[in-house]
C-alpha cells in the first residue's frame, strides 16, 4: 500500500526588506537554523527520526553555498543522524522540496522529512550565481534569454492587461496582507530573535497598507530600458505577432525582494502517531510542467490542471488558492487560463507583491499560509502554485485532515 504524505507543521520567519531590512544582519544559515530550532522545539521533535531535510535555495553561493541545508541543520544542533540537501527549481524550490518530501514518504522508503527553503536576497541577490542561462552568450543567444520582468510584461501585452489592472492587484495584495496581519491570520509566522533573546522581527515588514492606485501609477516601469535596449527583440523572435511589448510592471506590482525562510514537516501517518503529532493536512497530488521559456511565467495554469487531474479533482473542488504573485500579470493570466472570474478565494491574505518573494522559501511559505487560512475558515482543500524560470510551473494540492 502506498503511504500518504501528511503535513504536520509548516512555519516561517517574517520576511525582511532588502534595504535596511531587519533581517539583513542575520546570515542565511543562521536564519534557517533559528527556524529549525523553532520547528524541533514546538513539535518536541527527536530530530534523529528525521530521514531527510530538503531546502530550496535559488542562489546557493557564498553565504548560501556548500549545501546550506546540512550546514544549518548541524548549526541548529539537530542530531548528527540527519542528512540534508539543497535543491533548486528556481522560484518553485520551496514547493518542490515539499513535493519531493511527499514523494519520499509516499514511496514508503522514508517516514519523516523536513522541506522548505531559505533566501537572503539582501546578501545573495538574483544573479549572484552568474549562471549560464543568462551569462553564457551562446546559451542566451540560442535560448533567446529574457529577464523575468520582460516575460511578465509580455504576458500583460499578449493578454491586454492594463497598468491599472496590475496596480489594482498590487493594492489588493497590500490591503489583504495588512488585514491578515492585523487580524493575526498568520498563525505559523514565528518571530525572529537574536542570540540574546532580543526581538529582531515579528512581522512581514514589506507590507505597505497605504498603497493606492495613484502612488503606484507614478512608478517607473522597471523593464522598459532593458527591453528597449535589446531584450524585447529576443522576445519578438518568439512572438513575432507582437508589435511592441508594453512595459507595465514596476517595483510596485512585482514581488518584493526580501529575506525569509520556511520549513514544512511532512511524514507518514504511522510516524506521526509514533512521535505524538497530529497531522494538519495531507498532500493529495502535485505536478510540475514546462511551457515557453520566453514568456516564461505561464506555468501555474498547466501545472494546476495537471495536479488536479492527478487528484481526480476539478477547479471547483478547491476551496482556496495561493498563486505566487511573482508579477501581477502572472496571477491575472492564471485566472484567465482557468476561467476564474474573481480573487475571492485566491491569495485571500495578500501575496508576494505585498510581503515579498524570498525565492527558495516562497513555495513553503505559501503552503503554510494556505493551511493556516484553511484551518481558520474550516475549509477543506487548497492548491499552491508558482511560476518558475525557464517556463516551468509547479502546483500542489492539499486537503485538511
Amino acid at each position: 500500500m502506498t503511504e500518504l504524505a501528511y503535513i504536520y507543521d509548516s512555519i516561517r520567519t517574517p520576511r525582511g526588506k532588502r534595504k535596511q531590512g531587519a533581517l539583513n544582519e542575520i546570515t542565511p544559515t543562521d536564519l534557517l537554523s533559528k527556524l529549525m530550532v523553532q520547528l524541533s522545539n514546538r513539535n518536541n521533535l527527536d530530530t534523529s527520526k528525521i530521514d531527510d531535510v530538503i531546502i530550496g535555495c535559488v542562489m546557493p553561493v557564498r553565504e548560501q553555498g556548500a549545501n546550506i541545508g546540512k550546514t544549518a541543520a548541524q548549526y541548529a544542533g539537530w542530531n548528527v543522524d540527519v542528512p540534508a540537501m539543497q535543491i533548486s527549481r528556481c522560484c518553485g524550490s520551496g514547493l518542490e522540496a515539499i513535493n519531493l518530501a511527499a514523494t519520499k514518504i509516499k514511496s514508503g522508503f522514508e517516514n519523516l522529512v523536513v522541506a522548505g527553503g531559505i533566501e537572503s536576497m539582501s546578501r545573495v541577490p538574483m544573479g549572484a550565481d552568474i549562471g549560464s542561462m543568462a551569462y553564457e552568450t551562446k546559451i542566451s543567444l540560442n535560448n533567446h534569454y529574457v529577464p523575468q520582468g520582460i516575460g511578465a510584461d509580455l504576458i500583460a501585452t499578449v493578454n491586454s492587461f492594463s497598468r491599472k489592472d496590475l496596480d489594482a492587484l498590487a493594492v489588493q495584495s497590500h490591503k489583504r496582507a495588512f488585514n491578515a496581519q492585523q487580524n493575526k491570520r498568520f498563525k505559523s509566522l514565528l518571530p525572529v530573535y537574536d542570540q540574546n533573546g532580543l526581538l529582531i522581527l515579528e512581522k512581514d515588514e514589506h507590507i505597505r497598507p497605504e498603497s493606492n492606485l495613484i502612488d503606484l501609477s507614478k512608478l517607473k516601469p522597471s523593464f522598459e530600458d532593458l527591453g528597449s535596449m535589446g531584450f524585447d527583440s529576443f522576445a519578438q523572435e518568439v512572438y513575432p505577432e507582437i508589435e511592441q511589448i508594453e512595459h507595465l510592471h514596476t517595483a510596485g506590482n512585482s514581488s518584493g525582494i526580501v529575506d525569509g525562510a520556511s520549513l514544512t514537516l511532512l511524514g507518514s501517518k504511522e510516524m506521526g502517531e509514533q512521535i505524538g503529532l497530529k497531522p494538519r493536512a495531507r498532500i493529495l497530488s502535485f505536478a510540475t510542467c514546462s511551457t515557453d521559456p520566453t514568456i516564461m511565467l505561464t506555468g501555474p495554469a498547466p501545472a494546476t490542471i495537471k495536479s488536479l487531474k492527478r487528484a481526480s479533482m476539478t477547479i471547483k473542488d478547491i476551496d482556496l488558492f495561493e498563486v505566487n504573485e511573482a508579477f501581477a500579470s502572472v496571477v491575472l493570466r492564471f485566472m484567465k487560463d482557468l476561467k476564474l472570474s474573481n480573487m475571492n478565494n485566491i491569495n485571500v491574505n495578500g501575496g508576494s507583491i505585498a510581503m515579498g518573494h524570498p525565492l527558495g522559501a516562497t513555495g513553503s511559505i505559501l503552503l503554510g499560509t494556505l493551511l493556516d487560512e484553511l484551518e481558520l475558515r474550516d475549509l477543506s482543500t487548497g492548491l499552491v502554485t508558482l511560476c518558475v524560470a525557464g517556463g516551468m510551473g509547479i502546483a500542489t494540492v492539499i486537503e485538511r485532515v
Binding site: N24, E25, E63, S122, R123, D194, Q195, N196, G197, L198
Partner: protein, 710 residues
C-alpha cells in the same frame, strides 16, 4: 570632562580633561554626555568650520569603562547601553564639518574607537605611548563601532591582530598599519596639521559612508580574505581551546560586518557585545584582570602608611637559575645590581647568562640596545660580600636547602647596612625559621620569584612572624618597580602558590594511579585551561625535585608532631624515581620522552607501570577534579590565614601557575559555580574520590550569609 572652545577661525576644539588623579583620561559616562552636548552645539552652529579633538592629559583617551560594563547583566540593558553610546560616536562621525583627532598620548580601547569615528587622526611621535583595541584581553569586545570601522579602514587581515590578539602598537607602527592616519614630531605640528587638514577637507565624508565604498582587500568572501578565514578559526581554537568566547565572537563580527551595510554591521557588533558581556566568562576575566589586578597594583595588600621606596641598588646572593634571573629583571627595571657568588668565576658566568637574556630580548624587540647596555653596565658580578653594603635590599637565591640558606644569611648580613631589607627567595622553607638567623627579623622577608624569572609576572611575598610593615611595604615596592605583580601571604608551609598548585600535579598522579590514559589526563588539564597537563608540569619541575619536596615535607611534619599521609603521589614518585629512574625534562626522560630534534611525547612504557583501567572517567569529571582540588585548598589557605586577600588569591593563581583566566582565578571559580552548587558538586566528588574534596566549613557559612568571595 570635555572642554569646548571655539577660536577666531571658527575651529572648535574639544579638549578631553578627565579629573582622574593618575593623569589618564578614562572613558566613562561623563565623556559621552559631554560629547553629545557639544556635538549638539556644533550641529546648530552654522559658522563652525571644523572640530579638533584633543587631550589635556598624559593619555588621549583610554579604557572601555569596564566598571560600568561589569555591572550590566540584562540583555536589553546591555543593548540599549551600547547603542546609546554608539549613537553619540555616529553623531561625531556624521558631522558635516571635518573632525580631526590630535593624539598626544595613549589611545586604547574605547578611546581608540573614538579616534576611529573621527575623519582624520594625527599622532605625535613618542616612545612610550600605545595604541590599539585590547578589549579581548578583558573578555569583552570593542562595540562602539571599533570592529566595524577598523575593518572597513584597514581591511580584515590587518584588523585581526588588533581585535583578536589585542596587540598594542607605538606611534610609528600605528601609521604603518593604517590604524592612525598621520605622524608628526611635535605638539605644535599636531595643531597646525589638524587645522590644515580641516581647511583642505571641507566637504569630507567618512570613506565607509560614501557610495560604492569597498573594503581594502574586499569583504569576507574576497579571494584573499576567504583564504584567511578558511584557516583562521581552527588556529584560534587551537590557542583558546574554545575557552575564550570573546575572541571567537570578535572574529565572527569582523567577517559578518563586511558582508552587510553599516547599519546592519553595527547591529551585529552590538548583539555580540550583549552576548559577551552578559556571560560569566567576561565577568570572571574583568574581576581578575581589571578590578583585582588594579587593586593589587594600587597596594591593596601594602601597608598604606609607609611612604613609597624607589630602589637604586640591590644585592643578589647566588647566581644560579633564580639568581641571575632576578638580576636580569632588576637591571632591566633600572636598578643597579650587585650579583654575588662563591667565586668570581661563577659570578662571571652568571653575568654572561644575563647578557644572553638581554640579547634575546633585543632580538624580540622587547628591549632597545641602549637599554641593555645601560642595564648590563649597572651589574657588578663579584665574590666580594663587601659590595652588599651599598644595597638597599638583598635577595638570597641560593640552593633550596635550610642549612645552606641559614649559613648564607648569617655570613652575608655581616656586610649589609643597617637599613637594608633582607629577603629570601624560597618556595618552601619557612621564613620565620630563616629569620631567626637574621640580625633583625623585622627586616627579614620572603620574596618568592617564579621560574623563569624573566617571563613569570608573579612574585609571592611572604611575611615572617616578625616582619615589619615597613619591610613589607619595601618588598612590595621593589616588586612593583620590577613591573611584576606582588601578592602577600603569611608564613605557612607551602605558602600559597606551591601549596595550592601542588594539588594539580597530585590530582594528575591520582588519575594516573587510577588507570586513566595519560594522554586523556594531559588533555583534560589543558582543556581546563592550564598551560600544560599535570604530568608535563611534573616533568618541568623535575620528578626528583618533587621527591625532595616530599621528603622535606615528611621531615617537617614529623618535627611538628604530625603524621605524613601516603597517597598515590608517593606511589607515582616511587615508581618513577626508584624503579625507573625517570627524573624529568632535564634528564630528557620523565613521563615524557624529550627527543633532541622533535616534540616531546608521552613515554609509551608508562602503561606498563601504570596499567590502564577499563572504567572510564569523563573529561568534565577530570577537569572538575583539577579545579575543585585547587579551589578547596585555596579556601583552606584562607581559613588558616595564609592569605586574606581574594584579589591576591585569584591573581596569584593566574600569574603564579596559570589557573585559567577565563575562570577568573581560583576563588572566582567558586563564585562562578555559585557557592551552593560548588558545595553540592564538591560533596559528589568527595563521595567518589576522597576527603580532599570535602567542601570546607567556611563555604557553608558563606552560603548561609549569601556571600561570595570578594
Amino acid at each position: 570632562m570635555i572642554i569646548y572652545q571655539k577660536d577666531a577661525q571658527n575651529i572648535v576644539t574639544l579638549t578631553i580633561d578627565g579629573s582622574d588623579e593618575h593623569q589618564f583620561n578614562a572613558v566613562c559616562e561623563d565623556f559621552f554626555v559631554d560629547l553629545n552636548l557639544h556635538l549638539n552645539t556644533i550641529k546648530k552652529d552654522k559658522s563652525a568650520k571644523g572640530v579638533i579633538l584633543t587631550s589635556k592629559r598624559r593619555s588621549f583617551l583610554t579604557g572601555s569603562d569596564l566598571d560600568t560594563i561589569y555591572k550590566i547583566n540584562e540583555a536589553q540593558e546591555a543593548f540599549d547601553f551600547v547603542e546609546r553610546r554608539k549613537k553619540v560616536l555616529r553623531k561625531l562621525e556624521n558631522l558635516t564639518i571635518p573632525v580631526v583627532a590630535t593624539i598626544n598620548g595613549d589611545a586604547t580601547g574605547s578611546g581608540m574607537e573614538v579616534v576611529l569615528a573621527c575623519h582624520h587622526s594625527i599622532v605625535k611621535s613618542s616612545k612610550e605611548h600605545k595604541y590599539g583595541l585590547p578589549e579581548v584581553n578583558f573578555g569583552v569586545l570593542p562595540a562602539l563601532g571599533g570592529i566595524v570601522r577598523l575593518t572597513r579602514k584597514i581591511g580584515i587581515d590587518k584588523s585581526l591582530r588588533f581585535l583578536i590578539e589585542g596587540v598594542l602598537v607605538g606611534a610609528k607602527e600605528s601609521i604603518e598599519c593604517g590604524l592612525i592616519d598621520e605622524l608628526v614630531e611635535t605638539e605644535k605640528e599636531l595643531m597646525t596639521n589638524a587645522i590644515k587638514w580641516i581647511d583642505v577637507n571641507q566637504n569630507y565624508t567618512q570613506p565607509w559612508n560614501r557610495k560604492n565604498f569597498q573594503l581594502p582587500d574586499g569583504d569576507a568572501f574576497s579571494k584573499m580574505n576567504a583564504q584567511i578565514l578558511h584557516n583562521y578559526p581552527s588556529q584560534l581554537r587551537k590557542k583558546t581551546r574554545g575557552n575564550y568566547p570573546a575572541a571567537e565572537k570578535i572574529l565572527n563580527v569582523v567577517t559578518e560586518s563586511t558582508l552587510v551595510d553599516l547599519a546592519a554591521a553595527s547591529k551585529i557588533e552590538s548583539r555580540a557585545f550583549v552576548e559577551i558581556i552578559t556571560s560569566s566568562v567576561s565577568k570572571n576575566i574583568i574581576t581578575a584582570q581589571w578590578f583585582q589586578k588594579n587593586d593589587i597594583n594600587a597596594g591593596l595588600s601594602r601597608p598604606s602608611e609607609i611612604n613609597k621606596t624607589k630602589f637604586s641598588k640591590i644585592g643578589i646572593i647566588g647566581s644560579g637559575l633564580m639568581g641571575h634571573g632576578i638580576g636580569y629583571v632588576s637591571a632591566l627595571s633600572g636598578i643597579s645590581v650587585v650579583l654575588i657568588d662563591l667565586d668570581q668565576k661563577k659570578a662571571n658566568l652568571a653575568l654572561d647568562k644575563i647578557q644572553k637574556l638581554f640579547y634575546d630580548a633585543e632580538q624580540k624587540k622587547q628591549v632597545q640596545p641602549y637599554q641593555s647596555k645601560r642595564a648590563i653596565s649597572s651589574i657588578q658580578a663579584t665574590d666580594d660580600l663587601h659590595r652588599l653594603n651599598e644595597c638597599d635590599l638583598i635577595v638570597e637565591a641560593v640552593f633550596e636547602d635550610i642549612s645552606l640558606k641559614e649559613k648564607v644569611i648569617e655570613r652575608s648580613e655581616e656586610f649589609i647596612n643597617g637599613k637594608a631589607v633582607f629577603a629570601s627567595n624560597t618556595s618552601t622553607i619557612p621564613i620565620t625559621r630563616l629569620s631567626k638567623k637574621s640580625r633583625d627579623p623585622e627586616k627579614f622577608i620572603g620574596i618568592h620569584f617564579f621560574s623563569p624569572v624573566n617571563k613569570m609576572q608573579l612574585v609571592e611575598i611572604i611575611k615572617g612572624e616578625k616582619t615589619s610593615s615597613e619591610t613589607l611595604a619595601k618588598a612590595f615596592d621593589y616588586v612593583l618597580q620590577l613591573n611584576k605583580i606582588p601578592i602577600v601571604v603569611n608564613d605557612k608551609r607551602g605558602f600559597y602558590t606551591s601549596r595550592v598548585f601542588e594539588r594539580y600535579v597530585k590530582e594528575g598522579f591520582s588519575l594516573l594511579m587510577e588507570g586513566v590514559n595519560p594522554q586523556n589526563i594531559e588533555f583534560a588539564g589543558m582543556q581546563a585551561g592550564f598551560p600544560v597537563g599535570p604530568l608535563s608540569v611534573a616533568d618541568e619541575i623535575g620528578i626528583s625535585l618533587l621527591n625532595s619536596i616530599r621528603i622535606q615535607e615528611k621531615v617537617h611534619l614529623e618535627t611538628e608532631g604530625k603524621q605524613y599521609l601516603k597517597g598515590p603521589w608517593d606511589d607515582v614518585i616511587d615508581i618513577m624515581i626508584k624503579k625507573l629512574n625517570r627524573t624529568g625534562r632535564v634528564s630528557r626522560s620523565g613521563f615524557y620522552d624529550y627527543p633532541k630534534d622533535s616534540k616531546k611525547k608521552l613515554w609509551p612504557g608508562l602503561m606498563n607501570h601504570f596499567p590502564l583501567s577499563t572504567a572510564s572517567i569523563t573529561q568534565n569529571e577530570m577537569m572538575d577534579r583539577f579545579y575543585f582540588s585547587q579551589a578547596i585548598e585555596a579556601v583552606k589557605c584562607f581559613e588558616e590565614g595564609v592569605l586574606s586577600s581574594v584579589a591576591d588569591a585569584n591573581i596569584g593563581s593566574i600569574y603564579g601557575w596559570g589557573f585559567p583566566i577565563f575562570k577568573g582565578g581560583v576563588f572566582q571559580f567558586i563564585n562562578d559555580c555559585g557557592l551552593n552548587a560548588f558545595k553540592v558538586r564538591a560533596r559528589e566528588l568527595s563521595d567518589k574520590y576522597g576527603e580532599r574534596f570535602v567542601p570546607p566549613n567556611s563555604i557553608e557559612s558563606m552560603i548561609k550569609k549569601d556571600q561570595i568571595f570578594k
